[in-house]
């Protein structure tokens, strides 16, 4: 069996959520099938500038075929088109223009799929919202398996995606909340799908003492791992944690790991360690008393899963229904919506060792049951097996785009309005992934 993994960026040094997800899946599926990665020459997700060499190379034993991006992203144009599509009534042509402006526009990659798509039994497209996934799935719908990595943002309300979500062979969801949202947005309940998620290569014996010695951190601390960005909820995290330092007698510090796009508050109990390699990162997470996930939009938090794998509780932003749902299903994390809830939850975890220990143990169990690589691989292989037997879904097609005039009829509702109309997913039964 030959599989293609199609993703917007790919490489050892590329640590974006969906990109890392794609790399892990490609490397693990390579044990069971011949895998080829189709991607672009871009490494910067803001500009999509061609920085890597086009052609074929090997990354961790997986063949990677890179294609050039036709044009870089112009933030001004992309911003204008986003406003047009998200906030105003617009046309199909506006949405296609928005998709092109978003990038990474690589017609060469799409042409390769159109020309050589039959070489692959199945093509996994990562991140539904990008150019490569939309046009790639339309190029080979009978082989397309979509890993949408959809967050609850306005892009899900863009109407061009619904036919693609209904027309692919299967979808590999990251969470039940994501599945419910996509089903509501596109009406694709009859498309085969499974909630899979992603595993993680967490070391078996992290060294907390090594971390404490190396970074000179003695106190109990909460940790945040990821890009320190307002979009990730870090501004709110800083406000809430400053309040915790001011209003409670707690001893917890906050340790930040990752590149910062925000000013980190200057406080002796807020420490920014910058980007750490995996060894230090896992040591830090194993040392921490709790991992804080302040993000509003996540399709799946790998960091939260890693914390659970290490037996650490998680304190998540309840405004992100995926994180909240996972906390509830796993019984391994608390969640907050307001400052008071943040403080009380943090104090509860800090002061109640029984609670902290029980949450951590539940998290470890939850990870082992649902996110161990053997489980993930099995779910992927079962889906491939199911599709190979399912001749009905093989005939699935994606309807062509309407004509020139119909595409320019500005009768589509604002995407943000569509999103607002989508129901908030209810958390399914406990114990599920």
């Amino acid at each position: 069996m030959k599989l293609a993994v199609v993703v917007q960026r790919y490489g050892k040094a590329i640590n974006g959520g969906a990109e890392l997800h794609a790399r892990y899946i490609a490397e693990h599926l390579a044990k069971h099938a011949e895998v080829e990665v189709l991607t672009t020459c871009a490494s910067d997700y803001v500009t999509w500038r061609n920085e890597l060499t086009p052609g074929v190379e090997q990354v961790n034993g997986v063949t990677v075929r890179r294609f050039r991006v036709k044009h870089e992203r112009d933030p001004r144009v992309f911003g204008q088109r986003s406003v047009r599509v998200f906030d105003h009534a617009h046309s199909l042509a506006d949405e296609l223009a928005w998709l092109d402006a978003e990038g990474p526009a690589s017609p060469a990659l799409i042409a390769h799929l159109q020309k050589h798509g039959e070489r692959y039994d199945y093509c996994f497209f990562f991140s539904y919202r990008y150019y490569h996934a939309y046009h790639g799935a339309r190029a080979v719908p009978a082989r397309a398996i979509l890993v949408p990595t959809a967050e609850r943002d306005a892009a899900i309300g863009v109407s061009i995606f619904a036919p693609v979500l209904r027309g692919v062979r299967a979808l590999m969801y990251n969470s039940h909340e994501e599945r419910a949202m996509i089903n509501a947005a596109s009406g694709n309940e009859d498309v085969p799908g499974v909630v899979v998620g992603i595993g993680s290569d967490v070391p078996q014996n992290p060294q907390p003492a090594r971390f404490r010695q190396k970074f000179g951190i003695r106190d109990p601390f909460a940790i945040y791992v990821g890009r320190i960005d307002e979009n990730k909820g870090c501004k709110e995290l800083f406000e809430f944690f400053s309040g915790y330092l001011r209003d409670t007698p707690g001893r917890m510090s906050l340790v930040l790991v990752g590149h910062s796009l925000l000013d980190v508050p200057s406080h002796p109990r807020i420490k920014h360690l910058g980007f750490l390699d995996d060894t230090d990162k896992f040591d830090a997470m194993a040392t921490a008393d709790v991992l804080i996930m302040p993000s509003y939009f996540e399709s799946l938090s790998m960091v939260a899963l890693e914390a659970w794998a290490l037996g650490r509780p998680v304190l998540a932003n309840a405004k992100c229904d995926v994180l909240k749902g996972q906390c509830i299903r796993s019984n391994a994390g608390l969640y907050y919506e307001t400052y008071a809830e943040f403080t009380e939850s943090l104090v509860a975890i800090e002061r109640n060792r029984w609670l902290s220990g029980a949450l951590g143990r539940n998290g470890r169990q939850f990870f082992r049951e649902h996110y161990d690589w053997s489980v993930i691989e099995r779910k992927y292989l079962e889906m491939l097996d199911r599709l190979s037997k399912d001749t009905k879904s093989a005939a699935r097609t994606i309807p062509p785009l309407p004509g020139w005039f119909a595409r320019r009829k500005a009768d589509l509702p604002p995407a943000a309005e569509v999103l607002a109309g989508l129901p908030t997913a209810r958390s399914p039964a406990k114990g599920r992934a």
């Binding site: 906390c327 509830i328 019984n331 391994a332 994390g333 608390l334 969640y335 919506e337 307001t338 008071a340 809830e341 009380e344 939850s345 104090v347 509860a348 002061r351 109640n352 029984w354 609670l355 029980a358 949450l359 143990r361 539940n362």
Partner: protein, 360 residues
């Protein structure tokens, strides 16, 4: 602080969050989200504020009406010495140059050119300055609106906080009032027995007092008819003092008017109060039999011990000392457990100074 019932692995995150929210509600009253605060701010302002004054949706209004700043396109006012002769046609320009001396025969254009040139420079400088001011003004406007909006928002938050604090103050005031009433009630049930000669005669076995003992609720010397409440103690002290007095009060009623607080020929131990016997010395003669009679009276259909003792009814005395002594503090505070079952029936009777008289 948080003390959750988490003693096993079977934690339920939703239940814990409920506990946390309940704790927050207990601490702060109703906890509003930012969104709720914003909605309330809008509603409150619409309802109470002058619509011509501050508006609740200031920032939205401002953003709607305020166009994005665009630097103005400045017209070119350059004026050089060649400007008046300029033309795209080369032949015409040549003719003008040839005829220029003839023009200068009629007037001198140089001062005009100079003035216009200077004026063009001034205009350009002024336009640049004006554009900079406009930009600055728009930035300040944005900040101003932001500040006003935040002020309105914070005003709303403060209003809600004030309301919550008021409610808490009212709650505390009502509790204080209740405690004061309770303290007064506790003070009022302490009764003092009038000196009764006949009773004194009926107790020949009572030994004389060995030494004076402090009586917290002793009656003033010249108060013969009723009794004056003692100084109001703190609630906690009141209970303690009631306990300390519970055994001695009936006997203090037997003290002579001239020796307030000194039991008239009776030992000061708490009759039937195990806890009170120690510090007040051993039981005196006759006390044990009296206590036995009182208990018998309680067991025998709830007749007040005082009746059995003959204090109020049988002797015609106006005192109800034993009743008052039992009712002086709550049942759970008393150490005489068997008596507790009769307490609710008798407590109301001895709730005020008026009940010092015979309840029957």
């Amino acid at each position: 602080m948080p003390d959750f019932n988490v003693r096993s692995d079977s934690v339920n995150v939703e239940q814990i969050m409920e506990q946390i929210r309940a704790r927050i509600r207990d601490k702060r009253g109703v906890d509003y989200t930012e969104q709720q605060l914003r909605e309330m701010a809008a509603v409150k302002l619409e309802k109470f504020l002058d619509p011509r004054g501050v508006r609740s949706d200031l920032l939205e209004q401002f953003k709607r009406h305020q166009p994005a700043y665009e630097p103005p396109v400045l017209p070119s006012f350059t004026f050089e010495d060649t400007t008046i002769y300029e033309t795209p046609r080369g032949l015409l320009r040549t003719i003008r140059k040839l005829l220029n001396p003839i023009l200068k025969l009629f007037f001198n254009p140089n001062p005009i050119i100079h003035v216009l040139h200077t004026q063009a420079d001034l205009n350009a400088v002024n336009l640049l300055r004006e554009a900079a001011r406009e930009k600055q003004r728009m930035e300040i406007d944005a900040l101003y609106y932001e500040v006003i909006h935040n002020l309105v928002f914070e005003m709303t938050r403060l209003g809600i906080d004030t309301k919550n604090v008021k409610m808490r103050v009212e709650s505390i005031a009502s509790r204080l009032e209740f405690n004061e009433r309770r303290a007064r009630a506790l003070e009022s049930v302490v009764a003092y027995r009038e000196p009764d000669e006949s009773e004194g005669e009926r107790r020949p076995e009572a030994p004389p007092v060995q030494a004076p003992r402090p009586q917290p609720f002793s009656r003033p010397q010249n108060n013969q008819g009723g009794w004056t409440p003692p100084p109001a103690p703190q609630p906690a002290q009141a209970v303690g003092e009631s306990i300390a007095t519970s055994g001695s009060v009936p006997y203090s009623g037997a003290s002579t008017p001239g020796t307030p607080g000194i039991p008239g020929g009776q030992p000061a131990s708490g009759a039937g109060q195990p806890g009170s016997q120690g510090p007040q010395g051993p039981e005196g003669p006759g006390q044990r039999s009296r206590r036995r009679r009182r208990r018998r009276g309680r067991r025998g259909g709830g007749a007040p011990a005082a009746v059995v003792m003959g204090a109020p009814g049988s002797t015609g005395s106006t005192e109800t000392a034993p009743q008052s002594a039992d009712a002086a503090f709550p049942a759970e505070a008393r150490s005489d457990a068997p008596a507790a079952s009769n307490e609710p029936e008798r407590a109301p009777e001895s709730s005020g100074p008026d009940n010092d008289t015979d309840p029957q």
